[in-house]
Amino acid sequence: MSGAFFTVMKYLIVIAFLFILYSMGSALFYLSRDKGQSSNTVRFLTVRVVLSVVLFLFILLAMKMGWIVPHGLQLKPSG
Amino acid sequence: MSHDITHDELSHDHDHKPKGFVNRWLLTTNHKDIGTMYLVFALAMFILGGSMAMVIRLELFQPGLQFVEPFFFNQMTTMHALFMIFGAVMPAFVGLANWMIPIMIGAPDMALPRLNNFSFWLLPFAFVLLAATFFIPGGAPAGGWTMYPPLVLQGGQNVAFLVFAVHLMGISSILGAINIIATIVNMRAPNVGYLNMPMFVWTWLITAFLLILVMPVLAGAVTMLLTDRYFGTSFFNAAGGGDPVMFQHIFWFFGHPEVYIMILPSFGIVSEIIPTFARKRLFGYVSMVYATAAIAFLSFIVWAHHMFSVGMPLGGQLYFMYATMLIAVPTGVKVFNWLATMWRGAMTFETPMLFSIAFVALFTVGGFSGVMMALAPVDLQYHDTYFIVAHFHYVLVPGSVFAIIAAAYYWLPKWTGHMYNERLGKIHFWWSAISVNVLFFPQHFLGLAGMPRRIPDYSTQFAEFNMWSSIGGFAFGLAQVFFVYIVIKTVRGGQKATAQVWDEAKGLEWTIPSPAPHHTFDDYKPVDLSKMAHGDNH
């Protein structure tokens, strides 16, 4: 697998993380706007939890398959 | 632990102020009393920070070392900045916000009154902590208010005190900003829409967002300083893979929005005062709102123009240069709107109006020298010279401070129930306006000729302009002592003010008696929109 592939994988993870941030932000927005009256807040929080779990499973899979290598570069030999 | 809530405390018509110092001031939840405390605190810090400036100008009166040690001189420049920024200008604006915003939007008080008390009382503690550094081994911080490492980390024992003082000020600012947002968003009278709000309220809403976005970043930056100094981390240490320039990036990500935090509320104040004394509507209200928002947005993407001389890739220099110059556009919109408001108005020149007009003229001078320094190639010449000192003092002193003084004269009758003495006010204005230019204008020439900032001694070629600058400085300092006298005199007595105070002035604050009762707008009900300057917007 080439360097470009690793880069794409990294960006994929970062983008998924941004989606999680977005759904959390939406929950925040409805927390304020609906003042606890509707289920929008809890719905977006549920979306964010599901997204988080999916991303987590994906990271697990990616590490297992060698699509990403933790810390990209190897530990330097010795100091 | 708690007290019983009596019917009395919930009733509408009571105007009794709590008795005794502790009840009235220490435990208060009243937005007007807290606003007063903020303003008094700011005035005290202004005088204290100003006396440090006097030491600086005294030492620079002539070349050579006359009065103070160089190390003490450096403490003076650093502490002068910290006291003025975090102790005088910012608390003064928060004080004005506390006093005026609930009244201006028809709210009974700030949204979170206990928190409001906490925000204020943190400040005296923070400044005791900061001032205490004068008396510890190693003295007060002397590395400049920007706290650049590694210099600031060599400050002996004061680093911890400095960092914690900044933390306390930061908590105070963040909680204050949260309160202001909650108030504006949630506490407007039912028929007051966002586009009915006075300009001062709008500018403060946007300022509060800036505060919440950047004060925590400053807290993070100084926390890294703290651990670098005491716990061996390497955030700003190249030997450990860190970078001192990283501090500058994080600091100015806070620092640039911070300078707008110190000017946007002034824009709001001036936008209140000029229409009153020009007896015209504010020209281009909606464009003023958008311009304020645009300035706030741009403030986040220009920070590295403070760092051109530290070295950065060419693309970075070009980007930050052009982005910075872009700020002149919304700022220009504002200046032209003020001019258009005055155009063919039936103008009178009471003291608040004089200070506001001086604000427009002199802030623009500071703005122009800002555009000059935005040019990356020439900034290498101006960087860390007296030119930058002249620039930011022009936007901060005849900018922010003049606006605060204008606001004080404008609303003092509402706060105290007494008119200030107009003749003394005019003397104060002309005295300040002339001396401030004698003080800061020569510093442009000094900077262009190459005199560096933050030094206690200089080459003899700079002697003449420095002498002028110092004379202007002493005169300006004395003028502000005179201002304190005028304020005290007004508080103690004077001609009774009417509810309207200024003829033609619009805004809900002029519909309540002078002095403003302890509680206003107790019921959540519609207000008379025709009394508001922009009540007919929709």
Binding site: - | T29, P108, L213, D243
Partner: protein, 292 residues
């Protein structure tokens, strides 16, 4: 006590806790400053700092206790509730920005500072003259090899377990949230207790991880920029989890005492939201500190 009508706004009087909070904070930071400045001397116990903490703890119970009492006395109408919501949202937002400063430092170090020390771009002279032979890899303790060789915590070990724990806890709190909306108090309490336990277990493993890092991996705060960013990010996160767990415990106790209703539960929502916030920060940490 009088109930308050919809067109009034409850303004408390005689707020004594803010000034107690100021004094507590002041004593804490003075104690901390004195302690920090004597770190190099013989070890001392920072009694002043502990006194400050004690005052702060008393203050929190007092302040929030008063608010809870007022809430149960029906002094807060919808209007006050909205103010609390706005306050909580912007408070959490400020916390996000605080973490942003540290994530920003991590990003800057990895993207700019370390490669530049290695001579990237126009910085060849820096590398050759100052740090000849330094290879810019991540993780690093810098060209001076500060604190000696170290190893990193493997993302597959404790961090994986911790991620699982926190993610599960955000699932359980969401179930509790749904249960509260459905007015099922017993279910809410059970899932809240599960959340508290998960949070506490997370903290336990986080401490284990630090012990492991210090005792076996030679990874400490002083291990250059990696050690600094690693411990400051995870440390501040751990602090927030601790506070969040305490808040969850308080909310659970309040649920048991019969507080909150399906249509009136700001305290619950605020804490749930705070918990989601620390969970997302952890996810960011897991991705940017441990994995990538």
């Amino acid at each position: 006590m009088t109930e308050i009508s919809e067109n009034q706004y409850y303004v408390p009087h005689k707020a004594k806790w803010p000034i107690v909070a100021c004094v507590g904070l002041f004593i804490t930071v003075i104690g901390a400053s004195l302690k920090f400045n004597s770190l190099d001397l013989e070890p001392t116990t920072p009694w002043l700092m502990y006194l400050g903490f004690a005052i702060l703890i008393v203050m929190f119970f007092g302040w929030f206790g008063e608010v809870i009492k007022e809430s149960e006395a029906k002094l807060y109408n919808k209007h006050v509730d909205a103010s609390f919501r706005a306050g909580m949202i912007w408070f959490i937002f400020s916390e996000v920005m605080f973490f942003a400063a540290f994530f920003g430092a991590l990003f800057y170090a990895r993207t700019f500072a370390v490669p530049w020390l290695g001579g990237e771009g126009t910085n060849l002279a820096t590398n050759v003259q100052l740090w000849s032979g330094y290879e810019p890899v991540w993780p690093t303790n810098g060209p001076a090899d500060l604190n000696g060789r170290f190893e990193t915590i493997s993302a597959f070990a404790l961090p994986l377990v911790n991620t699982l724990l926190l993610l599960t806890s955000s699932v359980t709190i969401t179930i509790a949230h749904h249960a509260l909306l459905a007015n099922d108090r017993k279910k809410t309490i059970i899932w809240m207790i599960a959340t508290v336990l998960l949070g506490a277990t997370f903290l336990f493993y986080q401490v284990e991880e630090y012990i492991e890092a210090y005792q076996h991996l030679n990874l400490t705060l002083e291990s250059g920029i990696y050690g600094a960013t690693f411990f400051m990010l995870t440390g501040f996160h751990g602090l927030h989890v601790t506070l969040g767990t305490i808040m969850l415990i308080v909310i659970t106790i309040r649920l048991i005492k019969g507080h909150f209703k399906a249509d009136n539960h700001f305290g619950f929502e605020a804490v749930a939201w705070y918990w989601h916030f620390v969970d997302v920060v952890w996810l960011g940490l897991f991705i940017f500190v441990y994995v990538l």
